[in-house]
Amino acid sequence: MEKIRVLVVDDSKVSRIMMASVLSRTTFQICDYAKNSMEAVEKYRSLNPDVVTMDMNLPDGDGIECSRKILEINPNAKIVMISAMKDASLMMRGRNVGINSFLQKPINANELIDTLQMVCQSTENSIDVLRESYVKPFIKVLQKNLFSLAGLHSKVDLELDKDDFLDVNGIAVIIGLTGVPMGRAILHMDTQTMNRYSKIMLGMGEEEDLSEEEASDSVEESANIIVGRSVSMINDICKDKEMRITPPGTICGHRIRIVNPKLTSFNITASTRLGDFKMNIGFAEGE
């Protein structure tokens, strides 16, 4: 089996020895060490390792700045930040430059190996897994339930969400997903689609008056059913993991932006004669 090459950036000799000992009987192989930021950037460029472990404190600068330079060379570089303190502002600065993962000293061997393995699984691969095993059940259930709840036929489109945000005009029902993977599902649509759909759900005529509350409750209930059934379907297939859903939270208004920091998310659009029913299914990337 081909070894995964690791560049260890750490100015402490003890840390380097410990790292070598932890990784000695694994699929990882330390290809070199760098003891400061400058050396790290040079060695990254010449060796092109699969993954880098980066100490936070380096004699000639901090690990985040050094990571930023490495990510300039390769924007897809995989870096695991290792620091003595795991505080929120540090992690935020790190995430902002594009660091994938964080560990705290003293390092636990299993945690290090798990983290390296997770970081090294190719992004492409994990997106495919999410799409096939977790997002497709949502599409099936959405289509089936639009038909059973309101007699709607739909044409469905699925794409990976390339934006870090979702703009909502109308209603968005947010339902959290816990377990593995964790994330959240959002059903959203414009006001007109919501009103038309709710009247059908409630058996009302087109001319009858519908209150805002009745309209949003109908969409909320539908979202609860659709997300609940989708998660049951996923749990039936993946029996070793159990996903659960949180109760819905509903947002109504215009020009609302829901931001998705650090989520891998997918947009589903079901086009029907009433309008578009949209879902955004997002999964948290591992830390």
């Binding site: 859903i245 949180t246 947002i251 208004g253």
Partner: protein
């Protein structure tokens, strides 16, 4: 809604905020509300489930969100509510709810929390319960944060 579930959230706020640089924290009024909450501009929703199910919404103005983000980033100026500031507020909501979950566990209630969803806008409402929910007003050096909690 049982009042014993409120303290875990207040305690979480009182514990986490000083750790990230806030000194002046006061609990203001706690009230029971039964309509949708008007967002103050920035609302982060975190759901929880398992032995108790519900939602918590952290509601604040954009000014307050920028003030918090700046303090969390060691006083770095935050002029607009950009990606970095949004990520700080999401992270904070996650930390607060995770801490509340730990507090609930000590009361014997095991809960899992979802990823936070941060919404920004000028005029929108947030509904976290079909019945009543609790609103706790917290004051952070003159900035107001409303914690809305609903349980099923």
């Amino acid at each position: 809604m049982d009042a014993k579930f409120v303290n875990p959230f207040i305690d979480a706020f009182m514990t986490v905020m000083p750790q990230i640089g806030f000194q002046d924290i006061t609990r203001k009024k706690v009230s029971v509300k039964d309509k949708s909450a008007q967002s103050l501009g920035v609302t982060v929703l975190v759901g929880f489930t398992k032995q108790i199910r519900g939602n918590v919404a952290y509601n604040m103005s954009e000014e307050t969100a920028k003030y918090i983000a700046s303090t969390m980033m060691m006083g770095m100026p935050v002029d607009e509510f950009n990606d970095m500031a949004q990520s700080a507020i999401s992270e904070l909501s996650n930390m607060l709810t995770a801490n509340a979950a730990t507090n609930l566990a000590t009361l014997g209630y095991d809960v899992d929390i979802s990823t936070p969803s941060l919404s920004v806008g000028h005029n929108f409402v947030v509904k976290i319960s079909s019945e009543q929910y609790l609103a706790i007003d917290m004051d952070l050096s003159g900035h107001r944060i409303e914690i809305n909690i609903s349980l099923q």
